[in-house]
Protein backbone atom coordinates (compact mmCIF):
# COMPACT_ATOMS: atom_id res chain seq x y z
CA UNK A 1 0.00 0.00 0.00
CA UNK A 2 1.23 3.45 -0.78
CA UNK A 3 1.97 5.61 2.20
CA UNK A 4 0.06 8.77 2.77
CA UNK A 5 2.11 11.90 2.79
CA UNK A 6 0.26 14.29 5.01
CA UNK A 7 2.25 17.14 6.47
CA UNK A 8 1.69 17.67 10.14
CA UNK A 9 0.88 21.27 9.59
CA UNK A 10 -2.16 20.36 7.55
CA UNK A 11 -3.31 17.71 9.92
CA UNK A 12 -3.59 20.27 12.59
CA UNK A 13 -4.35 23.43 10.75
CA UNK A 14 -7.41 25.17 12.07
CA UNK A 15 -7.94 28.25 9.99
CA UNK A 16 -5.87 27.82 6.93
CA UNK A 17 -8.21 30.06 5.04
CA UNK A 18 -8.63 33.74 5.20
CA UNK A 19 -11.68 35.07 6.94
CA UNK A 20 -14.03 35.86 4.14
CA UNK A 21 -17.43 34.40 3.50
CA UNK A 22 -19.87 34.60 6.37
CA UNK A 23 -22.49 31.91 5.88
CA UNK A 24 -23.51 32.56 9.47
CA UNK A 25 -25.66 35.37 8.05
CA UNK A 26 -28.22 32.67 7.36
CA UNK A 27 -29.33 33.30 10.91
CA UNK A 28 -30.69 36.67 9.79
CA UNK A 29 -32.28 35.40 6.62
CA UNK A 30 -29.51 36.05 4.13
CA UNK A 31 -29.91 33.00 1.94
CA UNK A 32 -27.08 33.77 -0.45
CA UNK A 33 -23.90 35.77 -0.67
CA UNK A 34 -24.81 38.09 -3.52
CA UNK A 35 -26.51 40.61 -1.30
CA UNK A 36 -23.31 41.65 0.44
CA UNK A 37 -20.44 40.47 -1.74
CA UNK A 38 -19.31 41.73 -5.10
CA UNK A 39 -19.08 38.14 -6.30
CA UNK A 40 -22.24 36.05 -5.91
CA UNK A 41 -20.11 33.07 -4.89
CA UNK A 42 -19.29 34.96 -1.74
CA UNK A 43 -16.02 35.76 -0.08
CA UNK A 44 -13.78 38.57 -1.12
CA UNK A 45 -14.78 42.17 -1.49
CA UNK A 46 -18.01 43.54 -0.14
CA UNK A 47 -20.37 45.81 -2.02
CA UNK A 48 -21.62 49.03 -0.41
CA UNK A 49 -24.56 47.31 1.23
CA UNK A 50 -22.25 44.57 2.54
CA UNK A 51 -19.91 47.18 3.97
CA UNK A 52 -22.77 48.78 5.83
CA UNK A 53 -23.70 45.39 7.29
CA UNK A 54 -20.03 44.75 8.08
CA UNK A 55 -19.87 48.02 10.00
CA UNK A 56 -23.15 47.42 11.78
CA UNK A 57 -22.09 43.96 12.91
CA UNK A 58 -18.79 45.01 14.43
CA UNK A 59 -18.13 45.87 18.04
CA UNK A 60 -17.64 49.49 17.05
CA UNK A 61 -20.93 49.50 15.18
CA UNK A 62 -22.37 52.62 13.67
CA UNK A 63 -23.26 53.84 10.23
CA UNK A 64 -21.15 53.12 7.21
CA UNK A 65 -20.37 56.19 5.17
CA UNK A 66 -18.57 55.89 1.84
CA UNK A 67 -15.49 58.02 1.63
CA UNK A 68 -15.82 61.56 0.35
CA UNK A 69 -12.09 61.98 -0.20
CA UNK A 70 -11.34 63.25 -3.69
CA UNK A 71 -8.12 61.23 -3.74
CA UNK A 72 -9.87 58.00 -2.83
CA UNK A 73 -12.59 58.70 -5.34
CA UNK A 74 -10.00 59.28 -8.02
CA UNK A 75 -8.21 56.06 -7.09
CA UNK A 76 -11.48 54.21 -7.24
CA UNK A 77 -12.30 55.57 -10.69
CA UNK A 78 -15.29 57.40 -9.25
CA UNK A 79 -16.52 54.31 -7.48
CA UNK A 80 -15.98 51.82 -10.27
CA UNK A 81 -13.04 50.20 -8.53
CA UNK A 82 -13.51 48.46 -5.23
CA UNK A 83 -10.20 47.43 -3.74
CA UNK A 84 -8.42 46.80 -0.49
CA UNK A 85 -5.30 45.44 1.06
CA UNK A 86 -5.72 42.70 3.56
CA UNK A 87 -3.41 41.01 6.00
CA UNK A 88 -4.11 37.76 7.78
CA UNK A 89 -1.67 36.73 10.45
CA UNK A 90 -2.01 33.37 12.09
CA UNK A 91 -0.05 31.88 14.94
CA UNK A 92 -0.55 28.17 15.25
CA UNK A 93 0.60 25.75 17.88
CA UNK A 94 0.19 22.09 17.06
CA UNK A 95 1.30 18.66 18.06
CA UNK A 96 0.58 15.01 17.66
CA UNK A 97 0.97 11.98 19.89
CA UNK A 98 4.59 11.50 21.03
CA UNK A 99 5.69 14.59 19.14
CA UNK A 100 6.72 17.98 20.49
CA UNK A 101 4.61 21.07 20.06
CA UNK A 102 5.42 23.06 16.97
CA UNK A 103 4.75 26.76 16.56
CA UNK A 104 4.17 28.33 13.19
CA UNK A 105 3.43 31.90 12.18
CA UNK A 106 1.83 32.35 8.82
CA UNK A 107 1.42 35.82 7.38
CA UNK A 108 -0.51 36.48 4.24
CA UNK A 109 -1.05 39.74 2.33
CA UNK A 110 -3.82 40.08 -0.18
CA UNK A 111 -4.63 42.74 -2.72
CA UNK A 112 -8.21 42.49 -3.89
CA UNK A 113 -9.68 44.44 -6.73
CA UNK A 114 -13.02 44.49 -8.52
CA UNK A 115 -13.39 46.90 -11.39
CA UNK A 116 -16.74 47.66 -12.99
CA UNK A 117 -16.64 48.52 -16.67
CA UNK A 118 -20.31 49.21 -17.10
CA UNK A 119 -23.14 47.17 -18.56
CA UNK A 120 -22.62 44.64 -15.78
CA UNK A 121 -19.10 43.71 -16.86
CA UNK A 122 -16.58 43.35 -14.07
CA UNK A 123 -13.04 42.14 -13.68
CA UNK A 124 -11.95 40.99 -10.27
CA UNK A 125 -8.71 39.56 -8.98
CA UNK A 126 -7.00 38.60 -5.76
CA UNK A 127 -3.23 38.49 -5.52
CA UNK A 128 -1.70 36.86 -2.47
CA UNK A 129 1.76 36.93 -0.98
CA UNK A 130 2.71 34.83 2.02
CA UNK A 131 5.64 33.74 4.12
CA UNK A 132 4.50 30.17 4.65
CA UNK A 133 2.42 28.06 2.35
CA UNK A 134 -0.69 26.25 3.49
CA UNK A 135 -1.28 23.61 0.88
CA UNK A 136 -3.96 21.03 1.43
CA UNK A 137 -2.78 17.54 2.35
CA UNK A 138 -0.68 15.94 -0.34
CA UNK A 139 -2.07 12.47 -0.72
CA UNK A 140 -0.52 9.61 -2.63
CA UNK A 141 -3.55 9.40 -4.87
CA UNK A 142 -4.08 13.14 -5.12
CA UNK A 143 -1.09 15.39 -4.50
CA UNK A 144 -1.58 19.02 -3.56
CA UNK A 145 -1.06 21.74 -6.09
CA UNK A 146 2.27 23.54 -6.05
CA UNK A 147 2.12 26.53 -3.73
CA UNK A 148 4.04 29.67 -4.53
CA UNK A 149 4.77 32.67 -2.35
CA UNK A 150 2.96 35.01 -4.71
CA UNK A 151 -0.21 33.64 -6.08
CA UNK A 152 -3.36 34.71 -7.93
CA UNK A 153 -6.18 32.95 -6.18
CA UNK A 154 -8.83 34.56 -8.30
CA UNK A 155 -8.97 36.36 -11.64
CA UNK A 156 -12.44 36.51 -13.12
CA UNK A 157 -14.20 38.33 -15.87
CA UNK A 158 -17.85 38.50 -14.95
CA UNK A 159 -20.99 39.68 -16.63
CA UNK A 160 -24.01 40.51 -14.49
CA UNK A 161 -26.72 40.04 -17.05
CA UNK A 162 -29.51 40.73 -14.60
CA UNK A 163 -29.64 41.47 -10.91
CA UNK A 164 -29.94 37.72 -10.27
CA UNK A 165 -27.94 36.23 -13.12
CA UNK A 166 -24.18 36.32 -13.62
CA UNK A 167 -21.64 34.52 -15.76
CA UNK A 168 -17.97 34.34 -14.85
CA UNK A 169 -14.87 33.00 -16.54
CA UNK A 170 -11.33 32.82 -15.28
CA UNK A 171 -9.64 31.19 -12.30
CA UNK A 172 -11.15 30.91 -8.88
CA UNK A 173 -12.20 28.43 -6.25
CA UNK A 174 -15.02 26.23 -7.43
CA UNK A 175 -18.48 26.75 -5.97
CA UNK A 176 -18.93 24.59 -2.88
CA UNK A 177 -21.56 23.67 -0.38
CA UNK A 178 -21.67 25.35 3.00
CA UNK A 179 -18.93 27.70 1.79
CA UNK A 180 -17.04 28.00 5.04
CA UNK A 181 -13.79 29.96 4.93
CA UNK A 182 -11.87 27.29 6.85
CA UNK A 183 -9.99 25.43 4.14
CA UNK A 184 -8.64 22.77 6.48
CA UNK A 185 -11.93 21.03 7.11
CA UNK A 186 -12.20 17.64 5.45
CA UNK A 187 -15.08 18.52 3.16
CA UNK A 188 -12.80 21.12 1.57
CA UNK A 189 -9.25 19.91 2.01
CA UNK A 190 -10.10 16.38 0.79
CA UNK A 191 -12.08 17.56 -2.20
CA UNK A 192 -9.56 19.77 -3.96
CA UNK A 193 -10.84 22.93 -2.35
CA UNK A 194 -7.60 24.07 -0.79
CA UNK A 195 -6.16 27.53 -0.88
CA UNK A 196 -4.21 27.03 -4.10
CA UNK A 197 -6.91 25.16 -5.95
CA UNK A 198 -7.98 27.76 -8.47
CA UNK A 199 -8.89 25.92 -11.64
CA UNK A 200 -9.73 27.70 -14.84
CA UNK A 201 -13.49 27.75 -15.03
CA UNK A 202 -16.69 29.05 -16.52
CA UNK A 203 -19.63 29.28 -14.18
CA UNK A 204 -23.07 30.72 -13.87
CA UNK A 205 -24.91 32.04 -10.84
CA UNK A 206 -28.65 32.29 -10.94
CA UNK A 207 -30.42 33.08 -7.74
CA UNK A 208 -33.75 34.17 -6.42
CA UNK A 209 -35.60 34.57 -3.20
CA UNK A 210 -35.60 30.84 -2.52
CA UNK A 211 -33.06 29.29 -4.86
CA UNK A 212 -29.53 29.43 -6.11
CA UNK A 213 -28.21 27.46 -9.06
CA UNK A 214 -24.59 27.35 -10.25
CA UNK A 215 -23.49 25.07 -13.04
CA UNK A 216 -19.77 25.16 -13.73
CA UNK A 217 -17.11 23.70 -15.97
CA UNK A 218 -13.48 23.62 -15.06
CA UNK A 219 -10.06 22.91 -16.49
CA UNK A 220 -6.57 22.88 -14.99
CA UNK A 221 -5.38 26.02 -13.28
CA UNK A 222 -1.80 25.34 -14.30
CA UNK A 223 -0.21 24.57 -10.96
CA UNK A 224 -1.44 21.00 -10.57
CA UNK A 225 1.05 18.16 -10.32
CA UNK A 226 1.83 16.21 -13.44
CA UNK A 227 -0.95 13.77 -14.26
CA UNK A 228 -3.51 15.58 -12.13
CA UNK A 229 -4.56 18.38 -14.45
CA UNK A 230 -8.24 17.90 -13.92
CA UNK A 231 -11.04 18.80 -16.31
CA UNK A 232 -14.70 18.43 -15.58
CA UNK A 233 -17.99 19.96 -14.68
CA UNK A 234 -20.52 20.15 -11.94
CA UNK A 235 -23.35 22.04 -10.45
CA UNK A 236 -24.58 23.44 -7.19
CA UNK A 237 -28.24 23.90 -6.43
CA UNK A 238 -29.83 25.02 -3.21
CA UNK A 239 -33.32 25.85 -2.05
CA UNK A 240 -34.87 27.60 0.89
CA UNK A 241 -37.23 24.89 2.05
CA UNK A 242 -39.54 26.82 4.33
CA UNK A 243 -39.30 30.08 2.45
CA UNK A 244 -38.29 32.13 5.46
CA UNK A 245 -34.72 32.57 4.33
CA UNK A 246 -33.30 30.38 7.06
CA UNK A 247 -33.59 26.81 5.90
CA UNK A 248 -31.33 26.32 2.92
CA UNK A 249 -30.58 22.82 1.72
CA UNK A 250 -28.59 22.05 -1.36
CA UNK A 251 -26.33 19.70 -3.18
CA UNK A 252 -23.05 20.18 -4.97
CA UNK A 253 -21.98 17.54 -7.47
CA UNK A 254 -19.05 17.34 -9.84
CA UNK A 255 -17.10 14.97 -11.99
CA UNK A 256 -13.50 15.57 -12.92
CA UNK A 257 -10.98 13.56 -14.82
CA UNK A 258 -7.25 13.80 -15.26
CA UNK A 259 -4.65 11.53 -16.80
CA UNK A 260 -4.20 9.60 -13.55
CA UNK A 261 -7.42 10.09 -11.61
CA UNK A 262 -11.16 10.22 -12.09
CA UNK A 263 -13.19 11.84 -9.36
CA UNK A 264 -16.93 12.07 -8.76
CA UNK A 265 -18.29 13.94 -5.78
CA UNK A 266 -21.81 14.45 -4.48
CA UNK A 267 -22.25 16.64 -1.43
CA UNK A 268 -25.59 17.46 0.15
CA UNK A 269 -25.49 20.29 2.67
CA UNK A 270 -27.67 22.52 4.80
CA UNK A 271 -27.46 25.97 6.30
CA UNK A 272 -30.02 26.60 9.00
CA UNK A 273 -30.55 29.82 10.91
CA UNK A 274 -32.54 30.39 14.06
CA UNK A 275 -32.04 34.04 14.89
CA UNK A 276 -29.05 34.07 17.18
CA UNK A 277 -27.73 30.67 16.25
CA UNK A 278 -27.54 28.27 13.40
CA UNK A 279 -26.31 24.98 12.05
CA UNK A 280 -24.15 24.01 9.11
CA UNK A 281 -23.99 20.45 7.87
CA UNK A 282 -22.37 18.87 4.86
CA UNK A 283 -21.69 15.32 3.81
CA UNK A 284 -19.56 14.76 0.75
CA UNK A 285 -19.30 11.38 -0.91
CA UNK A 286 -16.39 11.05 -3.30
CA UNK A 287 -15.55 8.16 -5.57
CA UNK A 288 -12.08 8.03 -7.08
CA UNK A 289 -10.50 5.77 -9.65
CA UNK A 290 -6.80 5.62 -10.26
CA UNK A 291 -6.75 5.07 -13.98
CA UNK A 292 -3.37 3.39 -14.34
CA UNK A 293 -4.18 0.63 -11.88
CA UNK A 294 -7.96 0.70 -12.20
CA UNK A 295 -8.13 1.09 -8.44
CA UNK A 296 -11.41 2.50 -7.19
CA UNK A 297 -12.16 3.62 -3.68
CA UNK A 298 -14.60 5.86 -1.87
CA UNK A 299 -14.36 8.67 0.60
CA UNK A 300 -16.92 10.10 3.01
CA UNK A 301 -16.35 13.49 4.58
CA UNK A 302 -18.82 14.90 7.05
CA UNK A 303 -18.94 18.28 8.73
CA UNK A 304 -21.27 19.80 11.28
CA UNK A 305 -21.13 23.10 13.07
CA UNK A 306 -23.29 24.92 15.56
CA UNK A 307 -22.68 28.63 15.94
CA UNK A 308 -24.17 31.17 18.27
CA UNK A 309 -24.06 34.92 17.88
CA UNK A 310 -23.64 35.93 21.50
CA UNK A 311 -23.33 39.46 20.21
CA UNK A 312 -23.55 40.51 16.63
CA UNK A 313 -19.77 40.88 16.62
CA UNK A 314 -18.93 37.84 18.74
CA UNK A 315 -19.66 34.41 17.33
CA UNK A 316 -18.42 31.22 18.98
CA UNK A 317 -18.88 27.90 17.25
CA UNK A 318 -18.26 24.23 17.83
CA UNK A 319 -17.72 21.76 15.04
CA UNK A 320 -17.32 18.06 14.48
CA UNK A 321 -15.87 16.27 11.47
CA UNK A 322 -15.36 12.79 10.18
CA UNK A 323 -13.36 11.44 7.29
CA UNK A 324 -13.38 7.90 6.00
CA UNK A 325 -11.35 6.67 3.05
CA UNK A 326 -11.67 3.13 1.79
CA UNK A 327 -8.89 0.67 1.07
CA UNK A 328 -6.26 0.71 -0.29
CA UNK A 329 -5.80 4.24 1.06
CA UNK A 330 -7.72 3.58 4.20
CA UNK A 331 -8.11 6.46 6.61
CA UNK A 332 -10.45 7.10 9.50
CA UNK A 333 -10.22 10.49 11.12
CA UNK A 334 -12.38 12.29 13.64
CA UNK A 335 -12.00 15.89 14.65
CA UNK A 336 -13.71 18.29 16.98
CA UNK A 337 -13.06 21.97 17.23
CA UNK A 338 -14.19 25.20 18.77
CA UNK A 339 -13.57 28.73 17.69
CA UNK A 340 -14.62 32.21 18.58
CA UNK A 341 -14.53 35.11 16.18
CA UNK A 342 -14.67 38.73 17.29
CA UNK A 343 -15.23 41.41 14.71
CA UNK A 344 -13.87 44.45 16.48
CA UNK A 345 -14.28 46.83 13.59
CA UNK A 346 -14.83 46.16 9.90
CA UNK A 347 -11.06 46.40 9.59
CA UNK A 348 -10.01 44.16 12.49
CA UNK A 349 -11.20 40.68 13.23
CA UNK A 350 -9.68 38.35 15.81
CA UNK A 351 -10.26 34.63 15.94
CA UNK A 352 -9.16 31.94 18.36
CA UNK A 353 -9.64 28.28 17.83
CA UNK A 354 -8.78 24.83 19.02
CA UNK A 355 -9.07 21.58 17.18
CA UNK A 356 -8.33 18.01 18.08
CA UNK A 357 -8.01 15.35 15.44
CA UNK A 358 -7.94 11.67 16.23
CA UNK A 359 -6.70 9.05 13.82
CA UNK A 360 -8.70 5.94 14.53
CA UNK A 361 -6.27 3.69 12.69
CA UNK A 362 -3.05 4.81 14.33
CA UNK A 363 -4.49 6.02 17.61
CA UNK A 364 -2.71 9.29 17.22
CA UNK A 365 -4.27 12.49 18.48
CA UNK A 366 -3.29 15.87 17.12
CA UNK A 367 -4.34 19.00 18.97
CA UNK A 368 -3.86 22.49 17.60
CA UNK A 369 -4.48 26.01 18.81
CA UNK A 370 -4.70 29.01 16.57
CA UNK A 371 -4.83 32.75 17.01
CA UNK A 372 -5.61 34.78 13.94
CA UNK A 373 -5.79 38.50 13.23
CA UNK A 374 -7.29 39.76 10.01
CA UNK A 375 -6.94 43.37 8.95
CA UNK A 376 -7.99 45.22 5.86
CA UNK A 377 -7.96 48.74 4.60
CA UNK A 378 -11.26 50.63 4.56
CA UNK A 379 -13.07 51.25 1.32
Amino acid sequence: MMRLRVPLVMLTSVFAGQLKALPTMIRLGYVNCAACHVAPQGGGLLNAYGRSIDEAQSLRGGEYAPTTSDIIRALSWNGRITQDLRFVGQEQLSSTTNSPWVGLFRGRFLYRNATEFGSGVRFSATVVGENESAARPSLAYEPAVRPTQVYVTSALLSWRVHNNLEFSAGRDALPNGVNLPDLAIYVRSRNRLGYYDAPTQVKMFWWGKRYHVSPYFFAPGGNERSGFHETGGGGLAEFDVLGHGRTVVGVNALHGTSRLLDRTMVGPYARLGFGKWGIFAEHDITARTLLQTATSFGQDASYGQVFWAVKEWLVPAVAGERLTVERPYRESLLAVGAQVTARLTPQFTVSMGARIQHNQLTGRTSPAFTLQLAMKTPN
Binding site: S52, G208, E312
Partner: protein, 204 residues
Protein backbone atom coordinates in the same frame (compact mmCIF):
# COMPACT_ATOMS: atom_id res chain seq x y z
CA UNK B 1 -25.97 59.57 0.03
CA UNK B 2 -26.32 58.01 3.35
CA UNK B 3 -29.61 56.43 2.99
CA UNK B 4 -31.23 54.61 5.70
CA UNK B 5 -32.31 51.13 5.89
CA UNK B 6 -34.93 49.84 8.03
CA UNK B 7 -37.78 47.68 8.28
CA UNK B 8 -41.16 47.91 8.78
CA UNK B 9 -43.26 46.56 11.19
CA UNK B 10 -46.66 46.35 11.83
CA UNK B 11 -48.94 43.96 13.30
CA UNK B 12 -52.24 43.72 14.65
CA UNK B 13 -53.70 41.65 17.29
CA UNK B 14 -56.93 40.79 18.73
CA UNK B 15 -57.38 39.16 21.97
CA UNK B 16 -59.53 36.25 22.44
CA UNK B 17 -61.07 34.23 25.06
CA UNK B 18 -64.33 32.60 25.63
CA UNK B 19 -66.88 32.81 28.28
CA UNK B 20 -70.54 32.35 28.66
CA UNK B 21 -71.45 36.01 28.40
CA UNK B 22 -69.11 38.86 27.61
CA UNK B 23 -66.11 38.02 29.73
CA UNK B 24 -63.04 40.20 29.41
CA UNK B 25 -60.07 38.25 28.19
CA UNK B 26 -56.46 39.08 27.68
CA UNK B 27 -53.47 37.75 25.84
CA UNK B 28 -51.22 35.69 28.04
CA UNK B 29 -48.49 34.95 25.54
CA UNK B 30 -48.33 36.64 22.24
CA UNK B 31 -45.88 37.38 19.49
CA UNK B 32 -46.04 39.38 16.33
CA UNK B 33 -43.65 38.90 13.46
CA UNK B 34 -43.21 40.48 10.09
CA UNK B 35 -41.45 39.83 6.83
CA UNK B 36 -40.73 42.31 4.11
CA UNK B 37 -39.03 41.54 0.84
CA UNK B 38 -36.44 43.77 -0.75
CA UNK B 39 -35.39 44.63 -4.25
CA UNK B 40 -32.47 42.20 -3.95
CA UNK B 41 -33.36 38.54 -4.49
CA UNK B 42 -32.60 36.52 -1.42
CA UNK B 43 -32.79 39.34 1.09
CA UNK B 44 -35.87 39.74 3.15
CA UNK B 45 -36.09 41.38 6.52
CA UNK B 46 -37.73 39.63 9.37
CA UNK B 47 -38.56 40.90 12.80
CA UNK B 48 -40.43 39.90 15.88
CA UNK B 49 -41.87 41.18 19.11
CA UNK B 50 -42.97 39.15 22.08
CA UNK B 51 -44.39 42.14 23.90
CA UNK B 52 -47.84 42.05 22.44
CA UNK B 53 -50.55 43.29 24.79
CA UNK B 54 -54.19 42.89 24.02
CA UNK B 55 -57.62 42.47 25.48
CA UNK B 56 -61.15 42.01 24.32
CA UNK B 57 -64.58 41.14 25.54
CA UNK B 58 -65.47 37.66 24.38
CA UNK B 59 -68.91 36.18 24.27
CA UNK B 60 -69.89 32.69 23.24
CA UNK B 61 -72.84 32.75 20.89
CA UNK B 62 -74.75 29.85 19.33
CA UNK B 63 -72.76 29.84 16.10
CA UNK B 64 -69.37 30.70 17.50
CA UNK B 65 -67.72 33.57 19.31
CA UNK B 66 -68.32 37.27 19.40
CA UNK B 67 -65.43 39.62 20.08
CA UNK B 68 -66.00 43.17 21.26
CA UNK B 69 -63.79 46.07 22.21
CA UNK B 70 -60.68 44.50 20.79
CA UNK B 71 -57.57 46.47 21.68
CA UNK B 72 -53.97 45.51 21.06
CA UNK B 73 -50.63 47.24 21.14
CA UNK B 74 -46.97 46.58 20.65
CA UNK B 75 -44.19 48.87 21.89
CA UNK B 76 -41.99 49.88 19.01
CA UNK B 77 -38.87 49.32 21.07
CA UNK B 78 -39.77 45.65 21.46
CA UNK B 79 -39.45 44.96 17.74
CA UNK B 80 -36.26 43.11 16.96
CA UNK B 81 -34.76 42.20 13.61
CA UNK B 82 -31.57 40.66 14.96
CA UNK B 83 -29.37 43.55 13.95
CA UNK B 84 -29.15 46.55 16.27
CA UNK B 85 -28.39 49.06 13.54
CA UNK B 86 -31.28 47.82 11.48
CA UNK B 87 -33.57 48.11 14.49
CA UNK B 88 -32.44 51.68 14.94
CA UNK B 89 -33.14 52.44 11.30
CA UNK B 90 -36.53 50.80 11.59
CA UNK B 91 -37.49 52.87 14.58
CA UNK B 92 -36.14 56.06 13.05
CA UNK B 93 -37.56 55.79 9.56
CA UNK B 94 -40.73 53.85 10.10
CA UNK B 95 -42.03 54.57 13.54
CA UNK B 96 -40.78 57.98 14.57
CA UNK B 97 -43.17 60.87 14.18
CA UNK B 98 -42.18 64.30 12.96
CA UNK B 99 -41.89 65.50 16.55
CA UNK B 100 -39.55 62.67 17.50
CA UNK B 101 -41.96 60.38 19.32
CA UNK B 102 -42.35 56.64 18.77
CA UNK B 103 -45.89 55.75 19.76
CA UNK B 104 -46.82 52.11 20.15
CA UNK B 105 -48.50 50.31 17.32
CA UNK B 106 -52.17 50.08 18.15
CA UNK B 107 -55.01 48.06 16.78
CA UNK B 108 -58.64 48.58 17.67
CA UNK B 109 -61.75 46.84 16.49
CA UNK B 110 -65.27 47.33 17.74
CA UNK B 111 -66.45 43.81 17.14
CA UNK B 112 -65.98 40.63 15.20
CA UNK B 113 -67.98 37.46 14.76
CA UNK B 114 -66.02 34.22 14.74
CA UNK B 115 -67.81 31.29 13.19
CA UNK B 116 -67.28 27.76 14.46
CA UNK B 117 -65.89 25.35 11.93
CA UNK B 118 -68.46 22.82 10.89
CA UNK B 119 -67.99 19.65 12.85
CA UNK B 120 -65.27 21.23 14.99
CA UNK B 121 -66.82 23.09 17.82
CA UNK B 122 -63.45 24.06 19.24
CA UNK B 123 -62.20 25.86 16.16
CA UNK B 124 -63.30 29.25 14.93
CA UNK B 125 -62.48 31.66 12.13
CA UNK B 126 -63.18 35.33 11.83
CA UNK B 127 -62.15 38.48 10.06
CA UNK B 128 -61.28 41.14 12.58
CA UNK B 129 -61.62 44.56 10.98
CA UNK B 130 -60.65 47.75 12.69
CA UNK B 131 -57.94 50.35 12.56
CA UNK B 132 -54.21 50.05 12.91
CA UNK B 133 -52.18 53.04 14.03
CA UNK B 134 -48.56 53.43 13.02
CA UNK B 135 -46.78 56.62 14.03
CA UNK B 136 -50.08 57.58 15.55
CA UNK B 137 -51.76 57.52 12.15
CA UNK B 138 -54.75 55.21 11.96
CA UNK B 139 -55.79 53.37 8.85
CA UNK B 140 -58.34 50.63 8.27
CA UNK B 141 -56.87 47.19 8.85
CA UNK B 142 -58.26 43.72 8.72
CA UNK B 143 -56.78 40.41 9.76
CA UNK B 144 -58.22 36.91 9.54
CA UNK B 145 -57.86 34.88 12.73
CA UNK B 146 -58.00 31.18 13.30
CA UNK B 147 -58.79 30.25 16.86
CA UNK B 148 -58.52 26.90 18.53
CA UNK B 149 -59.90 26.12 21.96
CA UNK B 150 -58.08 23.60 24.17
CA UNK B 151 -59.58 23.33 27.60
CA UNK B 152 -59.61 26.79 29.07
CA UNK B 153 -56.86 28.02 26.81
CA UNK B 154 -57.22 29.40 23.35
CA UNK B 155 -54.63 29.74 20.65
CA UNK B 156 -55.02 32.10 17.75
CA UNK B 157 -53.01 32.79 14.64
CA UNK B 158 -53.46 35.24 11.84
CA UNK B 159 -51.65 36.96 9.04
CA UNK B 160 -52.24 39.99 6.92
CA UNK B 161 -50.45 42.68 4.92
CA UNK B 162 -49.71 46.30 5.67
CA UNK B 163 -48.84 48.80 2.97
CA UNK B 164 -46.37 51.45 4.05
CA UNK B 165 -47.68 53.84 1.48
CA UNK B 166 -51.07 53.80 3.18
CA UNK B 167 -49.37 55.52 6.09
CA UNK B 168 -47.33 57.90 3.97
CA UNK B 169 -44.14 56.03 4.89
CA UNK B 170 -41.43 55.90 2.28
CA UNK B 171 -39.89 52.51 1.60
CA UNK B 172 -36.54 52.47 3.39
CA UNK B 173 -33.44 51.69 1.43
CA UNK B 174 -29.79 51.14 2.17
CA UNK B 175 -27.18 51.31 -0.57
CA UNK B 176 -29.46 50.05 -3.26
CA UNK B 177 -31.38 47.54 -1.19
CA UNK B 178 -34.92 48.84 -0.92
CA UNK B 179 -37.69 47.21 1.02
CA UNK B 180 -41.01 46.48 -0.57
CA UNK B 181 -44.08 48.56 0.17
CA UNK B 182 -46.01 45.59 1.45
CA UNK B 183 -45.17 44.05 4.78
CA UNK B 184 -46.47 40.63 5.69
CA UNK B 185 -47.43 40.35 9.31
CA UNK B 186 -48.17 37.32 11.38
CA UNK B 187 -49.44 37.02 14.90
CA UNK B 188 -49.73 34.16 17.32
CA UNK B 189 -51.08 34.37 20.80
CA UNK B 190 -52.92 32.54 23.46
CA UNK B 191 -55.63 33.72 25.78
CA UNK B 192 -57.36 32.41 28.81
CA UNK B 193 -60.92 32.58 29.96
CA UNK B 194 -61.87 35.00 32.67
CA UNK B 195 -58.64 36.96 32.68
CA UNK B 196 -59.97 40.41 33.29
CA UNK B 197 -56.81 42.45 33.34
CA UNK B 198 -54.41 43.33 30.61
CA UNK B 199 -51.56 40.90 30.45
CA UNK B 200 -48.24 41.28 28.80
CA UNK B 201 -47.42 39.03 25.92
CA UNK B 202 -43.80 38.71 26.95
CA UNK B 203 -40.74 40.68 27.88
CA UNK B 204 -40.46 44.14 26.51
Amino acid sequence: MNQSFAIIVCFAAASYGAANSGTAAAVEGGAASFVVNTTVPGISVKGKSTALEARAVVERVPDGLRLEKVEASIPVKSLDTGMAMRDEHMRRYIFTTADGKTPDLRFEAAEAACAAHSGRGSEFSCQVSGSLAIRGVSRPFSIPLKIRAQGGTYRATGGSTVKLSDYGIEQPSQFGVRTADEVQVHIEFSGKEGVAKIASGGRR
